[in-house]
Amino acid sequence: MLTFKNVSKSFGKIQALEDISFEVDEGEFVFITGPSGAGKTTLLKLILRQLLPDKGEIILEEKNITNIKKRDIPHLRQQIGVVFQDFKVLYERTLKENVEIALAVINFPRKEWDARVEHVLQLVDLHERDNLFPSQLSGGELQRLSLARALVVNPKIILADEPTGNLDWETADKIMDLFEKINDEGKTIIMATHHKLIIDKMKKRVIELKDGKIKEDIVVKKPRSKKTQDE
């Protein structure tokens, strides 16, 4: 579903990513981990076409997204659900409107909005708070709202950048349960995190970055097996 082929990206003299290659299959749950500055967020930004690689190719659904035109970037992003550490919700709109706006962006038929919104808000357990404003919610609820907005457009892939970074352990655990549930339904998830406890608990594939390179690509099964980058 997603392929990185020898992707490199630098910012001036800083090499953020160097010759990165990996593949993600449909329905996979992949953690991108590593210390701060390892290149996790850069990698996600490349998939979202917020950045362009200096070298290499990124193939999403058989389409090289590194050479799509600027006017096609919104269309690419409409196929990707994004969840951010700082939630990035619209504070002047209600929960329901926050989710609806994602449907408006993809030009989804207006008469089907209510059913879709109701469904995802139920999934993230916010359906009884749909008329509240984000300022009236806790951090965990905001992250669930962010996830609902990502899910409502039925994306091919969900990118999550440190989604538990601003949450306490208990809330983070609940959010991760939600991600797992969504993954079980067949959604591909790529999550950047350095939350070791979560990674260990989830037992999913882990791509560890260090200084812009892949240090390890571990497919965690029970028991753990190791897949090197050369494979």
Partner: protein, 302 residues
């Protein structure tokens, strides 16, 4: 409600003073534009009234034959100094006299067509030819005497009056045009400043929308709609104020200017004139809104 319209409405509600500033500036602009349009129309009408009325009247001798008359008329028609000629028979002259003295029937009761001379009314291509043509007409055998538009006096007075009117009309058109252009530019700048401020306060929202795949037109739409609300609101308010003012002043203006049709005397025609102005202003307002908001958006995005 449409999501973009709701967004535009929310922006207006959240910053009511900015919205009011934009609305008032546009109202003043379109009030001035409407009033100036009427002024331009009226001055044009007045000028046309004086320019198209006969300026020289050649009174014909009683013994002239129809052949003589048509001979003179044909000669005048071929003259480049002449725009138009009209033959007025003795009977028609009597009718004109009767009409002019309608408020005093005694004056017309005792007169017969015989005492009125037939005449040829001449409209000049340019008033500077008047003196020359009068002299030429005086030399014609069939012409008894030559007169000028009575209520304007001699050819000098007539020429001065029309020239003065032309100058006034020119000043109204050019001066009014410049003034209206300044007003429209001010409105455009105010719209751009307000929309620019809106874009700055929405920077975070725009970033989020771009990340979830919003196209540029999706982001621009509420902004353009907001500017359109100000512009259309300003057009209607400005136009309505001017309409009420002119409607109120019309009876006095019409009675002051008498025969000069500076404004349509029929209310329906006046409304029609204002309708045309409103339609043109709506188009101008929409253009102003679209141009202003798109410029502001592109500036904010760059």
């Amino acid at each position: 409600m449409n999501i973009h319209l709701k967004t535009a409405g929310d922006h207006i509600r959240r910053a009511p003073f900015q919205a009011l500033a934009a609305f008032f500036v546009l109202t003043i602009t379109f009030f001035v534009v409407t009033t100036l349009s009427i002024l331009v129309y009226s001055s044009g009408q007045a000028l046309r009234f004086f320019e198209t009325r006969p300026q020289i009247i050649a009174f014909l001798k009683d013994e002239v034959t129809p052949e003589n008359i048509s001979g003179l008329q044909n000669k005048l028609q071929e003259d480049v100094r002449v725009r138009k000629t009209v033959y007025v028979s003795k009977e028609e002259a009597l009718e004109i006299y009767k009409k002019a003295t309608a408020d005093n029937p005694l004056l017309s009761e005792l007169v017969s067509p015989a005492i009125f001379p037939a005449s040829i009314e001449v409209q000049l291509a340019d008033l500077s030819y008047a003196q020359e043509l009068i002299e030429d007409l005086k030399k014609q055998e069939v012409v008894d005497s030559v007169g000028f538009t009575a209520n304007l006096g001699g050819e000098d007075t007539l020429s001065q009056a029309v020239n003065k009117l032309r100058t006034v009309t020119w000043y109204i058109r050019v001066g009014g045009g410049v003034f209206a252009a300044v007003q429209v530019t001010t409105s455009l700048l105010v719209l751009m400043v307000i929309i620019g401020m809106r874009m700055t306060t929405r920077r975070g929202e725009i970033e989020i929308l771009e990340l979830i795949g919003a196209t540029s037109s999706f982001i621009r739409r509420p902004v353009v709609l907001e500017a359109t609300i100000y512009a259309v609101g300003g057009v209607f308010a400005g136009w309505f104020l001017s309409f009420v003012l002119i409607l109120y002043a019309t009876p006095s203006l019409i009675s002051y200017f008498g025969d000069i049709p500076i404004l349509p005397k029929d209310t329906l025609q006046l409304t029609y004139l204002f309708g045309i102005i409103l339609a043109a202003e709506i188009v101008a307002g929409l253009l102003l809104a679209v141009i202003g908001s798109l410029l502001a958006v592109s500036r904010a995005k760059s």
